[in-house]
């Protein structure tokens, strides 16, 4: 039994988790985190794991708002994730769909040589309908745009500036590598503007999509490989910044909590990881952040992803965006945008994801900002599709405010 499962002991049945769950709020297919997590856990701890009955468990999106709200320290969403992994084990492994959608590097690599065509297909309704009928990914689920060039090929050609005062390793994640290399470039520019030298250690997928779908063994293989590749950077330069807040979260806590990886290398890597906004705010606290932002006369809605809140650092992007003159930022009132990684792409969960995000989309519609800001890539794609507005990572906004030409 993992420590995570033992935290079920702390539950005092107070119902706080049930008040924040965005999924049980919109569908009665999910009976809420208390039932699924600490309560159900007491019935799973037996010898007869062969008859895991948890159908409703599948509807947990893993957003983690319950874990955050729980005053007793029950790791509710994590209990659910472990239970899901046991369900997957009982059934002999991940289903085809989960296997496919949980491997962004695979999809990216296959599509890269034919990226324009792949993007055309993804935008083609008949193709999407066919995909929905075969693989059961919803026809309207937002798909990232494949890129013809990978981020690492950009990084290989990139020359760091001469005058730097410190170094960080950049964990860019699959989204930047396969779909949004320009985002990664913005991260590098912003760091270099602040006289930080960026290194690009050999890395790979953090395994989060596999882990969140319950494929712990497959996820563990990727995790072990990634830790092995990053452990050097954890020592030197000693700071690893992550621009995908959910991947950063995975490195910080999920290997330990969900996979039980408790060795020195995993520990040292997890302690060296910083969310990019967390890192920049840290620079600012030392008086080392370049605050010479140009005015950006714009209005934005900022949505802190649920995965970001799980870092325990609040929403550092708010402090950074506040430094940009002219930029008016309204904070989202929603806890979760709904997509929760791959969850919202599934045919049976898509509507739930849209319903969960409804209040955020309404707020955006009322506010009519120029763009939306959000730290997590799957959230960005989901919000962009639903609102029709551009959605940027906070660092892209800073990049623009520093004078970059592209994007914002």
């Amino acid at each position: 039994m993992l420590h995570v499962e033992q935290t079920a002991d702390r539950c005092i049945k107070c119902n706080v988790c049930n008040t924040v769950c965005p999924v049980s709020a919109v569908t009665d297919l999910f009976p809420g985190p208390k039932y699924e997590g600490p309560q159900g856990q007491r019935f799973r701890a037996g010898i007869d794991t062969g008859d895991s009955p948890d159908r409703s468990l599948d509807y947990c999106s893993g957003c983690g708002l319950c874990t955050q709200a729980c005053p007793e320290g029950v790791l509710i969403a994590e209990i659910n994730q472990v239970a899901r992994s046991r369900l997957v084990d009982d059934r002999g492994g991940l289903a085809l769909r989960e296997n496919l959608i949980s491997r962004p590097p695979l999809m990216g690599r296959l599509a890269r040589p034919v990226a324009p065509l792949a993007n055309l297909l993804m935008a083609s309704r008949p193709f999407r309908v066919a995909v929905e009928k075969t693989i059961r990914v919803h026809r309207d689920a937002p798909m990232p745009r494949f890129s013809s060039t990978s981020f690492r090929s950009w990084a290989r050609r990139h020359r760091p500036p001469a005058a730097t005062t410190r170094s960080v390793a950049y964990f860019h994640g699959c989204a930047v590598q396969e779909f949004e290399p320009e985002m990664g470039a913005a991260v590098v520019r912003v760091l270099e503007r602040n006289r930080v030298r960026v290194t690009f250690p050999r890395q790979g997928c953090c395994g989060l999509p596999l882990i969140s779908n319950g494929g712990f063994e497959a996820g563990r293989a990727l995790a072990t490989r990634l830790i092995g590749r990053l452990r050097g950077a954890a020592g030197d330069p000693g700071v690893i910044v992550a621009s995908s807040t959910s991947c950063g979260m995975t490195l910080k806590a999920k290997y330990r909590e969900l996979l039980g990886m408790d060795d020195d290398a995993t520990r040292s890597v997890s302690q060296a990881v910083y969310d990019i906004c967390e890192y920049l705010v840290g620079l600012d606290e030392q008086g080392e952040l370049d605050r010479s932002f140009r005015p950006l006369q714009a209005r934005a809605v900022y949505h802190p992803p649920c995965q970001l809140m799980a870092h325990g650092i609040g929403a550092p992007a708010l402090d950074l965006l506040a430094l940009v003159p002219g930029l008016q930022v309204e904070q989202s009132r929603a806890g979760c945008c709904g997509t929760a990684g791959t969850y919202g792409t599934k045919v049976e969960k898509y509507q739930i994801a849209m319903d969960v995000g409804h209040s955020l989309f309404d707020q955006v519609a009322e506010t009519r900002p120029d763009f939306v800001v959000c730290d997590s890539e799957t959230c960005r794609w989901h919000i962009a599709k639903a609102t029709g507005l551009p959605v940027y990572h906070p660092v892209q906004v800073l990049d623009r405010a520093y004078g970059a030409q592209a994007v914002v």
Binding site: C11, Y35, Q39, G40, R42, F43, A45, G46, D51, S56
Partner: protein, 571 residues
């Protein structure tokens, strides 16, 4: 007011597993019998124990007769009452510091008693029990299991009733009517109706377990019983898949028994004055936790839910062969093999038989031996069939931990849960109420309502709401309308009694949240007596004296042994 309620052939006194097994055996042999029980079935020792379905291995070294009885009955119970059993196996683990010589004797003793054992390496033992201490050296697998005594009682009683026998709960025996050397009737008091009644009979079986001596006294025969109190600690979650025993001479804190979603740590052994002494000294709780944590370290930092005590019904034979309980302290040395006392020979009372000693696992066999004797005396020639005749519900198969969750999932019944911790639905509660259950206590025993970590915080008042739906009995005026809040308060106080010695950490937060609900939101204050303990952080009781969980005399307010109903001034 004294009415002759019934005439029957046999009155069985005592609604524990022994008495009910006797009733069932009689029923299967076509004998007309009535069982009388002072509170509810299983409110004596049968409801206050750790739930171990013995393989007998615990006795294999020192008491092979007991061990053999256990394994035989273990096998029979699995056949006739599988639905009351969790078929989870058990381990005897050898820790550093344990006597390896004992382990060798253990293996030999099991073999000699017919108990199959399987030696497991430390790694294999930990694969079976992932939370076992890392320093376990060796383990032996045995056919232990868990057994739900209330399920067993209900099943046996239902079988007896459908064959024409009667079970009268809340009918304590107040005396016997004798005519020379025979008992002619048993006098009882109907607690619910508040009336005395008489049951005419030709034979009486004293199956009152730890209270057999008191029944004997009423009948004018001396039966010396020793109350061997044992404390058990309930953990909020299960920790182990099967039973885990320490492989050493039986001592305090050497067993962890999984029971549905919890683990029960056991036990101590202390001779006390009366089996009604169910006080739990906090030091015993600490001892259980510390000792069992040697086998499963997570227990040391785990959440303790409650603790309870029960008395083993130990018989001390009159013939002073010096084998009785060695003065006072440890009662483990007294034999646990049962004894049938035929009072005709022994005391000149020709139609009374008593059955004393024994353990739950062997209740069927105890009943068989007693009923064989009785049948002989009665001239009944039907043989005993309880070893082969399966009990109602047996086709359900053994209980599986995930079963309640599977049922709720299958029926998508999450919206109907009354007790969320134990996954009890409103439908189940209503069915039990339709079956005649009218007290939250009864619902607790039948459905496990209130057993979980929140100790009835949310289900108590939901269930009280369902009870309040019943039409009021009697006239619309006066005593017509039921007292649902009084019943609710009583139930909460009963749940509380088991928690006082075990509340710290998570459970303290739970207790205060519960208090904030019932006293804070609902403004319930119970009897309204001012509570001196509230003044200035003074301990409510000095440890070791005047323990508030102790029952004194007839004061049975809100006690888990059953409801006292119609006493005037009941609070």
């Amino acid at each position: 007011m004294n009415r002759r309620l019934l005439e029957t052939d046999v009155v069985v006194v005592g609604g524990g597993v022994t008495g009910v097994a006797v009733l069932r055996d009689l029923a299967l042999r076509g004998v007309d019998a009535v069982l009388v029980e002072r509170f509810d079935l299983g409110t004596g020792t049968s409801g206050r124990w750790h739930g171990l379905l013995h393989s007998g291995a615990r006795y294999a070294v020192r008491d092979q007769e007991s061990a053999r009885e256990c394994i035989d009955e273990n096998t029979i119970l699995r056949r006739v009452a599988p639905h009351t059993i969790e078929d989870v196996g058990g381990l005897f683990v050898l820790l550093p510091g344990d006597d390896e010589g004992y382990a060798a004797q253990f293996v030999e003793g099991c073999r000699a008693s017919g108990i199959a054992t399987e030696e497991l390496s430390a790694a294999a033992a930990r694969r079976r029990e992932p939370l076992l201490a890392p320093d376990v050296k060796l383990a032996f697998g045995v056919p232990d299991g868990g057994i739900d005594s209330w399920a067993l009682l209900r099943s046996m009683a239902a079988d007896a009733e459908r064959r024409g026998c009667r079970v009268l709960v809340r009918h304590p025996v107040t005396g016997f009517e004798r005519d020379g050397d025979r008992i002619t009737a048993v006098r009882v008091h109907d607690l619910v109706a508040g009336e005395d009644r008489t049951i005419g009979c030709r034979w009486v079986v004293n199956a009152a377990g730890a209270w057999a001596g008191e029944i004997g006294r009423m009948a004018g025969v001396p039966i010396r019983m020793i109350a061997g109190k044992g404390v058990m600690v309930v953990m909020a979650s299960r920790y182990v898949r099967g039973v885990v025993n320490a492989c050493r001479k039986p001592a305090d804190g050497d067993i962890i028994v999984p029971q549905h979603e919890v683990a029960i740590l056991g036990t101590t052994s202390e001779q006390v004055q009366s089996p009604d002494d169910i006080a739990v000294p906090p030091a015993h709780v600490d001892r259980m936790v510390d000792m069992c944590a040697q086998m499963v370290p997570a227990i040391a930092s785990g959440r303790v839910l409650r603790a309870f005590a029960g008395s083993r019904p130990l018989y001390q034979p009159e013939s002073a062969d010096g084998d009785g309980a060695a003065g006072g302290g440890d009662t483990r040395a007294v034999t646990r093999t049962f004894t049938v006392l035929d009072h005709a020979d022994r005391d000149g009372l020709v139609n009374l038989l008593s059955i004393v000693g024994g353990k739950l696992t062997t209740c069927r066999q105890m009943a068989e031996k007693l009923v064989d004797r009785l049948a002989e005396r009665m001239g009944v020639t039907e043989p005993c069939r309880t070893a082969t005749e399966v009990l109602p519900g047996a086709d359900h198969g053994p209980h599986r931990l995930a079963e309640p969750l599977a049922r709720v999932e299958r029926e998508a019944a999450y919206g109907e849960l009354v007790c969320e911790c134990e996954l009890v639905t409103g439908g189940q509660v209503r069915a039990a109420v339709a079956d005649g259950l009218s007290e939250l206590e009864d619902l607790r025993r039948r459905l496990r309502l209130g057993y979980g970590p929140c100790q009835a915080a949310f289900c108590a008042w939901r269930a009280a709401g369902i009870l309040a739906e019943r039409p009021p009995e009697g006239s619309a005026e006066g005593s017509g309308e039921p007292e649902p809040l009084a019943g609710l308060e009583r139930f909460l106080e009963e749940r509380w009694r088991g928690q006082r010695a075990t509340t710290w950490g998570d459970q303290a937060r739970q207790a205060l949240l519960n208090h904030a609900i019932y006293r804070g939101i609902f403004d319930l204050r119970g009897s309204g007596r001012p509570d001196e303990a509230a003044a200035a952080n003074r301990p409510a009781v000095q440890p070791g004296e005047g323990d508030p969980t102790r029952r004194v005399g007839d004061e049975l307010v809100g006690d888990s042994d059953g409801r006292t109903s119609s006493r005037a001034g009941d609070d």
